[in-house]
Amino acid sequence: MPAIKAARSAGGRGHGPLLPPCVLHDNFFYRTRTDYMPTINEKLTEEIRAQARTLLADGTVAAVIGFARGSLPMTVKPVVVRAAADCGRLVWNSFCVLNLANYLPEVLKSVEPPRGPRDPKPAGPLPKVAVLATGCWSRNIVVQTQEHQVDRERVVVMGVASRGMVSRRKVESHFSGREILAVEELDHDLLVTGADFADKINRWSVVRDNCQTCIHPDPVLVDVRIGEPASARKNPNPFKQVDDLEAQTSAERWAWFTSEFSTCIRCYACRNACPLCYCPTCFVDDARPQWVGKSLDPVDTGLFHLLRAYHCAGRCTDCGACESVCPMGINMRMLTKKLNKDVLNLYGMEAGMQPGSPLPLTTYATTDPQKFIVTEAKAVKEDE
């Protein structure tokens, strides 16, 4: 049984034998080469660390929200850095799939001086927090500001243009389930190594669907610029996936819906990874009345996903965090993407792109389309 022995004898890092060899520095092999040139992400990492150090050292911010290296290939761990000396932990790579805006309200609260629920707000400005933000995350910060979850004055946005984040699931399925032990990231390729294979794959081919169709890769808010601004990206039809599904019959769409969501285990990772979901009590947790049952009944699961998506209408920036964190690989982003399409077509709005104006569902126009209204539909019929 040599295979078992190999996995064991390779040992781990300083922590002891619990961690296997895959946690070696992702770029370990690459760095040993003589023609070593830092990659784009390595340069960005250095810049992030330097800027974070400055912000923390000169007291501009009390905390920096970023990513640290993960324990597995293609993972990162969201961290809150509070000391300039810890900024070396921060990294930037193509696997930063979580939306850091999700952490912002809580971290902002954590850096405030402690006070009781009825104590008045302390005089003077409260400490600030710096957060890394790509296009979609910065749009979420706009939404959070519009919804009064975040005080814009207290946020230092470290804007990074997104090059598209890689879907771990796509890489894994590219290697049809064979275990991946290390992934090295080059500028346009990924070097993937397993126990018995090593392969180079094109980075863009495994970038997440939402990033591939994204037309706003550059942050809309930038207080500290990291790297270069992204060049404008054109996409003839960012809603292609939705359109394809819309072209099907009602029965086919229902079949898609039931099968797509049938594997949901109701772990709520999609909800909790979403920066829009901050309700103290979610509708699924309401007991009086109880809107949605809590077990794996297909109806309850379906209702949960429909209502969750619907609550994101006009607010979703298609950051893809929900889909990336789903342990069962459900494409629940399709629902929010459909709503994004409708909001854009009906009201001409995109979440987080109009900081000054209200969110689409908190306002109205007297001229809003109402084709779906029965009275009107009937009147039209009579006209004909």
Binding site: V242, L245, E246, S250, A251, E252, R253, W254, A255, W256, F257, F283, P289, W291, V292, G293, S295, L296, D297, V299, D300, G302, L303, L306, L307, A309, Y310, H311, A313, G314, L335, K338, L339, D342, V343, L346, Y347, P360, L361, T362, T363, Y364, A365, T366, D368, P369, Q370, F372, I373, V374, T375, K378
Partner: protein, 164 residues
């Protein structure tokens, strides 16, 4: 992993009765207190006939009707849902129905997207003076739901629930 094959006596009775009695659509109507409910009242007072399939829930404003209520009615087995409010511009609360219009537009589109038949959920504007129109709309909606048959999609049924 196993389908719950045995039910309580009462449950099997339920399914029997629902099988034997001819199906007639049940439609939940959320009517705004100020216009549509008064319109329904007027329809009654003026003796305009409309199908007895609707079960009216009086709400203060069509803006009060949340997606949770609509989905909850679907889940509980309503064959159709009608939400009716004041005409745009006539809202007792100035703009409740205008906010509602945006929300309903998105909701009906989303439900259509996942394969809920478009005729299941209807929205309309009926003023307090439109008794006849209310009767007409109820007729239209009832006929649409009747032609769709009993609702099955997103209807919870605990007899056939998987246990694993």
């Amino acid at each position: 992993m196993t389908t719950q094959t045995t039910q309580t006596s009462s449950t099997s009775q339920t399914s029997q009765t629902s099988q034997t009695a001819p199906w007639d659509p049940k439609i939940i109507a959320f009517l705004c207190n100020w216009c549509s409910y008064a319109g329904a009242d007027l329809a009654g007072v003026s003796r305009f006939q409309y199908p007895p399939n609707i079960r009216i829930v009086r709400v203060p404003c069509s803006g009060r009707v949340s997606e949770n209520m609509i989905m909850s009615a679907l889940k509980s087995g309503a064959d159709g849902i009608l939400v009716s409010g004041c005409h745009p511009g006539d809202c007792h609360y100035i703009s409740g129905n205008l906010f509602a219009r945006r929300r309903f537009a998105l909701l009906s589109s989303l439900l259509d997207f996942v394969g809920i038949e478009p005729g299941r959920i209807s929205f309309s504007w009926v003023s307090a003076a439109e008794g006849e129109q209310f009767a007409e709309i109820v007729k239209t909606v009832t006929e649409r739901v009747r032609s769709l048959g009993p609702a099955t999609r997103l209807v919870k049924n605990i007899d056939t629930v998987q246990t694993a």
